[in-house]
Protein backbone atom coordinates (compact mmCIF):
# COMPACT_ATOMS: atom_id res chain seq x y z
CA UNK A 1 0.00 0.00 0.00
CA UNK A 2 1.26 3.47 -0.91
CA UNK A 3 1.45 5.96 1.91
CA UNK A 4 -0.77 9.01 1.41
CA UNK A 5 1.44 12.06 1.39
CA UNK A 6 -0.36 15.37 0.84
CA UNK A 7 1.03 17.79 -1.73
CA UNK A 8 3.10 20.58 -0.22
CA UNK A 9 1.99 24.16 -0.94
CA UNK A 10 4.74 24.34 -3.52
CA UNK A 11 3.55 21.11 -5.15
CA UNK A 12 -0.04 22.41 -5.18
CA UNK A 13 1.14 25.60 -6.91
CA UNK A 14 3.15 23.55 -9.41
CA UNK A 15 0.16 21.31 -10.12
CA UNK A 16 -2.03 24.33 -10.85
CA UNK A 17 0.67 26.03 -12.93
CA UNK A 18 0.80 22.92 -15.12
CA UNK A 19 -2.78 23.69 -16.27
CA UNK A 20 -2.14 27.34 -17.26
CA UNK A 21 -1.47 27.60 -21.01
CA UNK A 22 0.61 30.18 -22.82
CA UNK A 23 -1.26 33.35 -23.68
CA UNK A 24 -3.51 33.51 -20.65
CA UNK A 25 -3.88 36.71 -18.63
CA UNK A 26 -3.83 35.68 -14.98
CA UNK A 27 -4.35 37.36 -11.61
CA UNK A 28 -2.95 35.58 -8.57
CA UNK A 29 -4.29 36.32 -5.09
CA UNK A 30 -2.18 36.66 -1.97
CA UNK A 31 -0.70 33.55 -0.31
CA UNK A 32 -0.40 30.17 -2.05
CA UNK A 33 -1.78 31.62 -5.33
CA UNK A 34 1.27 33.91 -5.59
CA UNK A 35 3.51 30.81 -5.64
CA UNK A 36 1.94 29.67 -8.92
CA UNK A 37 4.01 32.22 -10.86
CA UNK A 38 7.22 30.52 -9.74
CA UNK A 39 6.14 27.36 -11.58
CA UNK A 40 5.34 28.89 -14.95
CA UNK A 41 8.53 28.77 -17.04
CA UNK A 42 9.44 32.15 -18.48
CA UNK A 43 9.36 30.82 -22.06
CA UNK A 44 5.67 29.92 -21.61
CA UNK A 45 4.33 33.46 -21.96
CA UNK A 46 1.65 33.83 -19.31
CA UNK A 47 0.87 37.47 -18.49
CA UNK A 48 0.37 38.20 -14.82
CA UNK A 49 -1.89 41.04 -13.73
CA UNK A 50 -1.82 42.80 -10.39
CA UNK A 51 -4.91 44.80 -9.53
CA UNK A 52 -2.93 47.89 -8.50
CA UNK A 53 -2.31 48.56 -12.17
CA UNK A 54 0.51 46.26 -13.27
CA UNK A 55 0.12 44.05 -16.35
CA UNK A 56 3.05 41.82 -17.29
CA UNK A 57 4.39 41.46 -13.76
CA UNK A 58 7.66 39.57 -13.33
CA UNK A 59 9.23 37.91 -10.29
CA UNK A 60 10.60 39.60 -7.17
CA UNK A 61 13.74 41.63 -7.89
CA UNK A 62 17.13 40.37 -6.76
CA UNK A 63 18.43 42.05 -3.58
CA UNK A 64 19.90 45.43 -4.40
CA UNK A 65 17.71 45.90 -7.48
CA UNK A 66 14.45 46.83 -5.73
CA UNK A 67 12.41 49.61 -7.32
CA UNK A 68 10.41 51.15 -4.44
CA UNK A 69 7.78 52.38 -6.95
CA UNK A 70 6.86 48.93 -8.20
CA UNK A 71 4.77 46.75 -5.91
CA UNK A 72 2.07 44.14 -6.39
CA UNK A 73 -1.35 43.89 -4.74
CA UNK A 74 0.26 42.17 -1.76
CA UNK A 75 2.46 45.29 -1.34
CA UNK A 76 5.55 43.24 -2.23
CA UNK A 77 8.25 44.53 -4.57
CA UNK A 78 8.08 43.01 -8.05
CA UNK A 79 9.48 43.60 -11.53
CA UNK A 80 7.94 44.32 -14.95
CA UNK A 81 8.60 42.07 -17.93
CA UNK A 82 9.40 43.49 -21.36
CA UNK A 83 6.01 44.27 -22.88
CA UNK A 84 4.49 45.04 -19.49
CA UNK A 85 2.44 48.15 -18.81
CA UNK A 86 0.89 50.26 -16.07
CA UNK A 87 -2.66 51.50 -15.77
CA UNK A 88 -4.81 53.23 -13.17
CA UNK A 89 -7.18 51.45 -10.81
CA UNK A 90 -10.38 51.99 -12.79
CA UNK A 91 -8.79 50.53 -15.94
CA UNK A 92 -7.21 47.72 -13.95
CA UNK A 93 -10.58 46.69 -12.54
CA UNK A 94 -12.12 47.19 -15.97
CA UNK A 95 -9.79 44.38 -17.09
CA UNK A 96 -11.10 42.30 -14.18
CA UNK A 97 -14.81 43.13 -14.25
CA UNK A 98 -14.93 43.24 -18.02
CA UNK A 99 -14.02 39.57 -18.28
CA UNK A 100 -10.61 40.15 -19.86
CA UNK A 101 -8.69 37.97 -17.42
CA UNK A 102 -8.59 34.32 -18.45
CA UNK A 103 -8.01 33.18 -14.90
CA UNK A 104 -7.99 34.34 -11.33
CA UNK A 105 -6.54 32.13 -8.60
CA UNK A 106 -7.63 32.82 -5.02
CA UNK A 107 -7.29 31.19 -1.65
CA UNK A 108 -10.47 30.50 0.33
CA UNK A 109 -11.90 29.65 3.72
CA UNK A 110 -14.66 27.61 2.11
CA UNK A 111 -15.92 26.59 -1.32
CA UNK A 112 -19.43 25.18 -1.74
CA UNK A 113 -20.46 22.46 -4.18
CA UNK A 114 -22.33 25.05 -6.28
CA UNK A 115 -19.17 27.15 -6.66
CA UNK A 116 -19.91 29.72 -3.95
CA UNK A 117 -16.72 31.07 -2.40
CA UNK A 118 -16.07 32.56 1.04
CA UNK A 119 -12.61 34.06 1.35
CA UNK A 120 -12.75 37.56 2.83
CA UNK A 121 -14.23 37.53 6.31
CA UNK A 122 -14.83 35.25 9.22
CA UNK A 123 -17.38 36.24 11.80
CA UNK A 124 -15.05 35.02 14.52
CA UNK A 125 -12.73 37.98 14.99
CA UNK A 126 -13.16 41.58 16.00
CA UNK A 127 -10.81 43.13 13.47
CA UNK A 128 -12.27 45.29 10.75
CA UNK A 129 -13.43 43.44 7.63
CA UNK A 130 -11.20 43.90 4.58
CA UNK A 131 -12.33 42.81 1.13
CA UNK A 132 -9.77 44.38 -1.21
CA UNK A 133 -10.34 43.22 -4.78
CA UNK A 134 -11.56 39.71 -3.96
CA UNK A 135 -15.21 40.31 -4.89
CA UNK A 136 -14.31 42.04 -8.14
CA UNK A 137 -11.92 39.25 -9.11
CA UNK A 138 -14.29 36.44 -8.16
CA UNK A 139 -17.16 37.98 -10.12
CA UNK A 140 -15.15 39.24 -13.07
CA UNK A 141 -12.51 36.78 -14.27
CA UNK A 142 -13.46 34.25 -16.97
CA UNK A 143 -12.39 31.41 -14.67
CA UNK A 144 -11.96 31.31 -10.92
CA UNK A 145 -9.76 28.56 -9.52
CA UNK A 146 -9.19 28.14 -5.80
CA UNK A 147 -6.00 26.77 -4.29
CA UNK A 148 -6.22 25.85 -0.60
CA UNK A 149 -5.67 23.13 1.99
CA UNK A 150 -8.40 20.50 1.81
CA UNK A 151 -9.23 20.98 5.51
CA UNK A 152 -8.58 23.56 8.22
CA UNK A 153 -5.67 23.12 10.63
CA UNK A 154 -8.01 21.36 13.06
CA UNK A 155 -9.31 19.05 10.35
CA UNK A 156 -12.63 20.65 9.40
CA UNK A 157 -13.53 20.32 5.69
CA UNK A 158 -13.27 23.45 3.59
CA UNK A 159 -15.22 21.92 0.71
CA UNK A 160 -18.82 22.10 1.86
CA UNK A 161 -22.46 21.92 0.73
CA UNK A 162 -23.13 25.54 1.75
CA UNK A 163 -20.62 28.14 2.93
CA UNK A 164 -20.95 29.22 6.54
CA UNK A 165 -18.67 32.24 6.28
CA UNK A 166 -19.68 35.49 4.52
CA UNK A 167 -19.68 34.97 0.76
CA UNK A 168 -17.28 36.60 -1.68
CA UNK A 169 -19.25 35.58 -4.79
CA UNK A 170 -22.00 33.18 -5.81
CA UNK A 171 -21.37 30.19 -8.09
CA UNK A 172 -18.01 31.54 -9.21
CA UNK A 173 -15.45 28.77 -8.61
CA UNK A 174 -14.91 26.25 -11.40
CA UNK A 175 -11.92 24.28 -10.08
CA UNK A 176 -10.18 23.63 -6.76
CA UNK A 177 -6.60 22.48 -6.15
CA UNK A 178 -6.06 21.13 -2.62
CA UNK A 179 -3.22 19.27 -0.94
CA UNK A 180 -5.12 16.01 -1.57
CA UNK A 181 -6.94 16.42 -4.89
CA UNK A 182 -7.96 18.44 -7.92
CA UNK A 183 -11.71 18.88 -8.24
CA UNK A 184 -14.07 20.49 -10.72
CA UNK A 185 -17.29 22.22 -9.74
CA UNK A 186 -20.00 20.69 -11.93
CA UNK A 187 -23.76 20.86 -12.10
CA UNK A 188 -23.71 17.67 -10.05
CA UNK A 189 -21.35 19.04 -7.37
CA UNK A 190 -17.64 18.35 -6.80
CA UNK A 191 -16.09 15.98 -9.35
CA UNK A 192 -12.67 14.59 -8.46
CA UNK A 193 -10.30 14.63 -11.40
CA UNK A 194 -7.07 13.73 -9.60
CA UNK A 195 -5.93 12.56 -6.15
CA UNK A 196 -2.50 12.42 -4.48
CA UNK A 197 -0.90 8.98 -4.72
CA UNK A 198 -2.22 6.64 -2.06
CA UNK A 199 -5.41 8.62 -1.42
CA UNK A 200 -8.61 6.57 -1.55
CA UNK A 201 -12.08 7.70 -2.54
CA UNK A 202 -13.34 6.90 0.95
CA UNK A 203 -10.58 8.84 2.71
CA UNK A 204 -11.08 11.88 0.48
CA UNK A 205 -14.85 11.77 1.03
CA UNK A 206 -14.25 11.69 4.82
CA UNK A 207 -12.31 14.95 4.56
CA UNK A 208 -15.03 16.62 2.49
CA UNK A 209 -18.40 17.95 3.72
CA UNK A 210 -20.16 17.51 0.38
CA UNK A 211 -20.75 14.49 -1.81
CA UNK A 212 -17.92 13.75 -4.24
CA UNK A 213 -18.33 12.34 -7.70
CA UNK A 214 -15.52 10.29 -9.19
CA UNK A 215 -14.88 10.01 -12.89
Amino acid sequence: MIETKPWSRDAMAARLAHDVPEGWYVNLGIGIPTMVADHVPVEREVIFHSENGVLGMGPAPPPGAVDPWLINAGKKHVTLRAGGSYCHHADSFGMIRGGHLDLCVLGAFEVAENGDIANWATSENDTAPAVGGAMDLAAGAKRLWVIMEHTTKDGRPKLVERCGYPLTALAAVTRIYTNFAVLDVTAGGFAVIEMVPGMTREALQERTAARLAFA
Binding site: H88, A90, G94, A128, G132, A134, D136
Partner: protein, 226 residues
Amino acid sequence: MIDKIVPDMNAAMAGVVSGSTILVGGFGSVGQPNALIEALIERDVRDLTIVANNSGGGVVGLAHLMQRGCVRRLICSFPRSSNSTVFEELYRAGKIELEIVPQGTMAERMRAAGAGVGAFYTPTSYGTKLAEGKETREIGGRMHVLEYALHGDVALVEAWRADRWGNLVFNKSGRNFNPVMAMAARTTIVQTQHVVELGALDPEAIVTPGIFVDRVLHVPYGDPVG
Protein backbone atom coordinates in the same frame (compact mmCIF):
# COMPACT_ATOMS: atom_id res chain seq x y z
CA MET B 1 -1.06 82.69 -18.45
CA ILE B 2 -2.40 79.66 -16.68
CA ASP B 3 -0.20 78.62 -13.77
CA LYS B 4 -1.52 75.95 -11.44
CA ILE B 5 1.83 75.63 -9.69
CA VAL B 6 1.37 77.07 -6.20
CA PRO B 7 4.28 78.51 -4.18
CA ASP B 8 3.64 76.85 -0.83
CA MET B 9 1.46 74.52 1.22
CA ASN B 10 -0.83 77.33 2.40
CA ALA B 11 -1.73 78.13 -1.17
CA ALA B 12 -2.14 74.43 -1.97
CA MET B 13 -4.53 73.77 0.90
CA ALA B 14 -6.53 77.02 0.79
CA GLY B 15 -10.24 76.45 1.37
CA VAL B 16 -9.91 72.87 2.63
CA VAL B 17 -12.29 72.82 5.56
CA SER B 18 -13.56 70.53 8.30
CA GLY B 19 -16.39 68.19 7.32
CA SER B 20 -15.05 67.61 3.79
CA THR B 21 -14.96 64.36 1.85
CA ILE B 22 -11.34 63.91 0.82
CA LEU B 23 -10.13 61.39 -1.76
CA VAL B 24 -6.59 60.28 -0.98
CA GLY B 25 -4.48 58.53 -3.64
CA GLY B 26 -2.06 55.72 -3.00
CA PHE B 27 -1.90 51.95 -2.75
CA GLY B 28 0.10 50.82 0.22
CA SER B 29 2.78 53.43 0.68
CA VAL B 30 3.28 53.98 -3.06
CA GLY B 31 1.74 57.06 -4.66
CA GLN B 32 0.38 58.36 -1.37
CA PRO B 33 0.49 62.17 -1.04
CA ASN B 34 1.92 62.24 2.48
CA ALA B 35 2.95 65.90 2.47
CA LEU B 36 -0.62 66.97 1.69
CA ILE B 37 -1.99 64.61 4.36
CA GLU B 38 0.37 66.10 6.93
CA ALA B 39 -0.88 69.53 5.92
CA LEU B 40 -4.44 68.48 6.84
CA ILE B 41 -3.15 67.75 10.35
CA GLU B 42 -1.32 71.06 10.60
CA ARG B 43 -4.42 72.95 9.51
CA ASP B 44 -6.48 71.00 12.06
CA VAL B 45 -9.30 70.16 9.67
CA ARG B 46 -11.54 67.61 11.36
CA ASP B 47 -14.70 65.57 10.94
CA LEU B 48 -13.38 64.32 7.62
CA THR B 49 -14.67 61.54 5.41
CA ILE B 50 -11.61 59.93 3.88
CA VAL B 51 -11.78 57.77 0.76
CA ALA B 52 -8.61 55.70 0.33
CA ASN B 53 -7.75 52.12 -0.49
CA ASN B 54 -5.94 51.41 2.77
CA SER B 55 -6.07 52.74 6.30
CA GLY B 56 -2.41 53.65 6.48
CA GLY B 57 0.37 52.04 8.47
CA GLY B 58 2.62 53.03 11.33
CA VAL B 59 1.93 56.61 12.41
CA VAL B 60 2.58 58.44 9.15
CA GLY B 61 0.21 59.75 6.50
CA LEU B 62 -3.37 58.53 6.89
CA ALA B 63 -2.61 56.68 10.12
CA HIS B 64 -1.25 59.93 11.60
CA LEU B 65 -4.35 61.81 10.45
CA MET B 66 -6.60 59.24 12.13
CA GLN B 67 -4.49 59.16 15.28
CA ARG B 68 -5.04 62.91 15.61
CA GLY B 69 -8.79 62.36 15.57
CA CYS B 70 -9.39 64.19 12.28
CA VAL B 71 -11.28 61.37 10.55
CA ARG B 72 -14.93 60.64 11.27
CA ARG B 73 -15.51 58.12 8.51
CA LEU B 74 -13.28 55.95 6.33
CA ILE B 75 -14.43 54.55 2.98
CA CYS B 76 -11.96 51.93 1.82
CA SER B 77 -11.48 48.40 0.51
CA PHE B 78 -8.74 47.07 2.74
CA PRO B 79 -8.29 48.67 6.17
CA ARG B 80 -5.87 46.01 7.39
CA SER B 81 -2.14 45.76 6.95
CA SER B 82 0.76 44.40 8.95
CA ASN B 83 1.04 47.67 10.88
CA SER B 84 -2.39 49.31 10.68
CA THR B 85 -2.72 49.45 14.48
CA VAL B 86 -3.91 53.07 14.67
CA PHE B 87 -7.00 52.35 12.59
CA GLU B 88 -7.74 49.05 14.31
CA GLU B 89 -7.66 50.61 17.76
CA LEU B 90 -10.00 53.42 16.70
CA TYR B 91 -12.30 50.93 15.00
CA ARG B 92 -12.52 48.64 18.04
CA ALA B 93 -13.18 51.63 20.26
CA GLY B 94 -16.01 52.72 17.95
CA LYS B 95 -14.28 56.02 17.26
CA ILE B 96 -14.31 55.76 13.49
CA GLU B 97 -17.01 54.78 11.00
CA LEU B 98 -16.05 52.31 8.30
CA GLU B 99 -17.60 51.68 4.90
CA ILE B 100 -16.05 48.71 3.13
CA VAL B 101 -16.27 48.85 -0.67
CA PRO B 102 -14.88 46.28 -3.11
CA GLN B 103 -11.73 47.79 -4.59
CA GLY B 104 -12.92 47.85 -8.20
CA THR B 105 -16.32 49.21 -7.22
CA MET B 106 -14.60 51.98 -5.29
CA ALA B 107 -12.47 52.92 -8.30
CA GLU B 108 -15.47 52.82 -10.65
CA ARG B 109 -17.65 54.88 -8.29
CA MET B 110 -15.05 57.65 -8.49
CA ARG B 111 -14.58 57.24 -12.24
CA ALA B 112 -18.37 57.58 -12.57
CA ALA B 113 -18.33 60.73 -10.45
CA GLY B 114 -15.62 62.22 -12.64
CA ALA B 115 -17.42 61.23 -15.83
CA GLY B 116 -20.84 62.55 -14.83
CA VAL B 117 -22.42 59.13 -14.42
CA GLY B 118 -24.85 59.04 -11.50
CA ALA B 119 -24.72 55.32 -10.79
CA PHE B 120 -23.98 52.01 -12.47
CA TYR B 121 -24.83 48.33 -12.19
CA THR B 122 -22.05 45.85 -11.46
CA PRO B 123 -22.05 42.09 -10.83
CA THR B 124 -19.43 42.59 -8.11
CA SER B 125 -20.71 41.80 -4.59
CA TYR B 126 -24.10 40.45 -5.70
CA GLY B 127 -25.40 38.01 -3.08
CA THR B 128 -22.89 39.13 -0.43
CA LYS B 129 -23.06 41.14 2.77
CA LEU B 130 -21.72 44.20 0.95
CA ALA B 131 -24.77 44.25 -1.35
CA GLU B 132 -27.32 44.16 1.46
CA GLY B 133 -29.96 46.87 1.07
CA LYS B 134 -28.81 47.81 -2.42
CA GLU B 135 -30.98 47.75 -5.53
CA THR B 136 -30.36 44.79 -7.81
CA ARG B 137 -31.36 44.05 -11.37
CA GLU B 138 -30.95 41.22 -13.84
CA ILE B 139 -29.07 42.40 -16.93
CA GLY B 140 -28.21 39.97 -19.71
CA GLY B 141 -29.11 37.01 -17.55
CA ARG B 142 -26.85 38.06 -14.70
CA MET B 143 -27.65 39.75 -11.41
CA HIS B 144 -26.13 43.20 -10.85
CA VAL B 145 -25.93 45.62 -7.91
CA LEU B 146 -26.58 49.36 -8.20
CA GLU B 147 -23.65 51.48 -7.03
CA TYR B 148 -23.65 55.29 -6.85
CA ALA B 149 -20.99 57.73 -7.96
CA LEU B 150 -18.58 58.76 -5.21
CA HIS B 151 -17.68 62.45 -5.30
CA GLY B 152 -15.00 64.23 -3.33
CA ASP B 153 -14.85 67.81 -2.16
CA VAL B 154 -11.09 67.53 -2.44
CA ALA B 155 -8.68 65.01 -4.00
CA LEU B 156 -5.12 64.73 -2.74
CA VAL B 157 -2.96 63.24 -5.47
CA GLU B 158 0.67 62.33 -5.88
CA ALA B 159 2.28 62.64 -9.32
CA TRP B 160 5.78 62.05 -10.63
CA ARG B 161 5.94 64.91 -13.15
CA ALA B 162 3.63 67.88 -13.70
CA ASP B 163 3.56 71.05 -15.77
CA ARG B 164 1.93 74.43 -15.06
CA TRP B 165 -1.29 73.41 -16.82
CA GLY B 166 -1.62 70.54 -14.36
CA ASN B 167 -0.87 67.74 -16.82
CA LEU B 168 0.38 64.72 -14.89
CA VAL B 169 2.33 61.53 -15.31
CA PHE B 170 2.91 58.98 -12.56
CA ASN B 171 5.62 56.53 -11.57
CA LYS B 172 4.89 52.81 -12.10
CA SER B 173 2.49 51.43 -9.49
CA GLY B 174 2.37 54.94 -7.98
CA ARG B 175 -0.41 55.64 -10.50
CA ASN B 176 -3.07 53.46 -8.80
CA PHE B 177 -6.11 55.51 -7.67
CA ASN B 178 -4.55 58.92 -8.34
CA PRO B 179 -5.96 59.56 -11.87
CA VAL B 180 -9.55 58.55 -11.00
CA MET B 181 -9.49 60.59 -7.80
CA ALA B 182 -8.20 63.60 -9.72
CA MET B 183 -11.35 63.34 -11.90
CA ALA B 184 -13.80 62.89 -9.05
CA ALA B 185 -13.25 65.91 -6.79
CA ARG B 186 -14.36 69.53 -6.94
CA THR B 187 -10.83 70.63 -6.05
CA THR B 188 -7.84 68.46 -6.99
CA ILE B 189 -4.57 69.21 -5.25
CA VAL B 190 -1.40 67.54 -6.49
CA GLN B 191 1.99 67.06 -4.90
CA THR B 192 4.57 66.28 -7.56
CA GLN B 193 8.15 65.09 -7.40
CA HIS B 194 9.15 67.01 -10.52
CA VAL B 195 7.89 70.15 -12.25
CA VAL B 196 8.62 70.40 -15.98
CA GLU B 197 8.19 73.09 -18.62
CA LEU B 198 4.91 73.28 -20.50
CA GLY B 199 5.36 71.12 -23.61
CA ALA B 200 7.95 68.87 -22.02
CA LEU B 201 5.47 66.06 -21.32
CA ASP B 202 4.75 63.87 -24.36
CA PRO B 203 1.08 64.58 -25.23
CA GLU B 204 0.65 60.88 -26.11
CA ALA B 205 1.83 59.87 -22.66
CA ILE B 206 0.04 62.35 -20.37
CA VAL B 207 -2.06 60.24 -18.00
CA THR B 208 -4.09 62.95 -16.28
CA PRO B 209 -4.82 65.97 -18.50
CA GLY B 210 -4.71 69.28 -16.64
CA ILE B 211 -8.47 69.81 -16.89
CA PHE B 212 -8.80 67.51 -13.86
CA VAL B 213 -6.22 69.40 -11.78
CA ASP B 214 -6.53 72.66 -9.83
CA ARG B 215 -3.29 73.13 -7.89
CA VAL B 216 0.18 71.63 -8.10
CA LEU B 217 2.78 71.81 -5.33
CA HIS B 218 6.39 70.75 -5.89
CA VAL B 219 7.32 68.20 -3.18
CA PRO B 220 10.52 66.37 -4.19
CA TYR B 221 10.63 63.92 -1.30
CA GLY B 222 12.28 60.93 -2.98
CA ASP B 223 11.16 57.32 -2.73
CA PRO B 224 8.29 55.79 -0.77
CA VAL B 225 9.32 53.97 2.39
CA GLY B 226 7.80 50.68 3.55
